[in-house]
Point group: D2
Chain length 152, copies 4
DNA sequence: TTCGTCGATAC
DNA sequence: GTATCGACGAA
């Protein structure tokens, strides 16, 4: 009941619409995607080559990957994540003691001081340490405002 | 300014709340997760062992994986997916011709017949072929109702 | 106990070798990689756009992905994989019966016939079916030669 | 050329060896794997529940994941990785200056001192800083021995 | 042992 | 649905 092979395909479009579907269109999409994937693969290979070259020059590839990852994060995010991690590490007893400047940052944040109250000059290493402590405590306080951890 | 080492932690809770965070609670969560992950790893290893044993008995592991994947899908989904794929393969010219029974299923679906109109007995191979063709065409028609592919 | 800030850096290379490491070289590698990753991301976005467009034209994206995957495999691999899968599906009772032509391919393979002994013309649907059965049985026999499944 | 349906299956083993393959054995493997995967899934769900509960108590899940990851690494690996990263961050100009104690650790490592030459008491924050600098420089020197970066 | 591919999982 | 991560198999 109906001519064989390809269904109700009465229109004589050459090779188009085969099987009732927009065959040409499908082919077009598939071709475009395959072409783009080829390009993408080429670039992925290039990246791999650069890593190989770097390795040949004595660089540690996993560390480079980590470095690239950190660069993708905005400095602010990175600091916040790091502070939170420090906080958890300390809670777990997996970190050393705080440095003096870190401790001072913590205290100052508790006392309501703001980031610009950093008492150290920017080229003093303690500047960063104070900032880390301040950030850590600020993050903690913000978290505690939003949630009520057991015991709060 | 403020006693050193651990912040404003005046309450003497033993090891709790260290760093201002609910340390005991954190430790508890971490322990539970690590314990569960250990169990999970054990089971993953067991699975690996079974595959290894199967391989030693001459079975092809990738094919077994594929088989397991297919079994996860409901038969209905599998058929539908397969029909759609057949449709696309035909449109791309990547498949052989339809079998006679498939073609008949296609025509019958176009003619508005329903799944139970399958003219073949269930133990006839053409039963399945007709069903595939019918399902394929039914899927196609449903798709065309929902969308207007260019040219429709 | 040595001049401060940057170690044994006696050579006056400007900004190079900072920290004893080939800093300029590292920066170069990192820059190249980041540039390539940007390009790669752009292409990935283009691919996504094509899928979105195809979807808007009524195509089923998961099926297209499957289609693309199949096209990546060489036809020979695909057939072999499919035959092996059929074999396992039959063994699990998850497949319908063999078609007549498939069965004949199985028997012919068992009888030592070769692929070119296909008794059907290439435009006959049974050509493919015979080939599938032949391939399946050939694969099975090859497997049995290599291993000794229990009972062999 | 032999009665149809199931090949050269002359032995009457009930449902076994169907299709020439050790069907029962295959089914057994598949069952075992599916059972194990079910268990594995259950545990994965439990883990997810714990994370959800932790989140409900104000903990940051990504940070917890990071913490768990760090705990999986041996402390030694972690230090080494961290030192290498610091080294690269400094080279890229993405880190602050070294602390005094770090710098001293760097110098001491260059001077051939060993890890136990740490001049700070273990409860002094500078103990850790010195160790980081020492480790970093030690790692660097080891790397330079193995490779010849351009310019060495 | 290292690399590349593949599947799983988290966002 | 996508991108990252870890695991597995191959060389």
């Amino acid at each position: 009941m109906a001519p064989r092979k390809k269904k109700q395909d009465d229109a004589p479009q050459p090779s188009s619409n085969a099987g009732g579907i927009a065959a040409d269109q499908l082919r077009s999409f598939v071709d475009r995607i395959e072409r783009l994937e080829t390009e993408k693969k080429g670039i992925a290979d290039d990246i791999k080559d650069v890593f190989t070259e770097a390795k040949g020059n004595g660089f540690d590839v996993p560390t480079m990957r980590l470095l690239l990852k950190l660069r993708k994060q905005k400095p602010h995010e990175r600091e916040e994540q790091q502070s939170m991690l420090d906080l958890y590490l300390h809670a777990m007893g997996m970190a050393g003691e705080y440095t003096i400047a870190e401790q001072q940052g913590i205290d100052d944040a508790s006392a309501g001081k703001v980031a610009t109250d950093n008492p150290f000059l920017t080229d003093d290493p303690r500047h960063t340490q104070w900032a880390t402590g301040w950030q850590m405590q600020t993050t903690l306080l913000a978290t505690q405002d939003e949630n009520q951890p057991a015991g709060a």
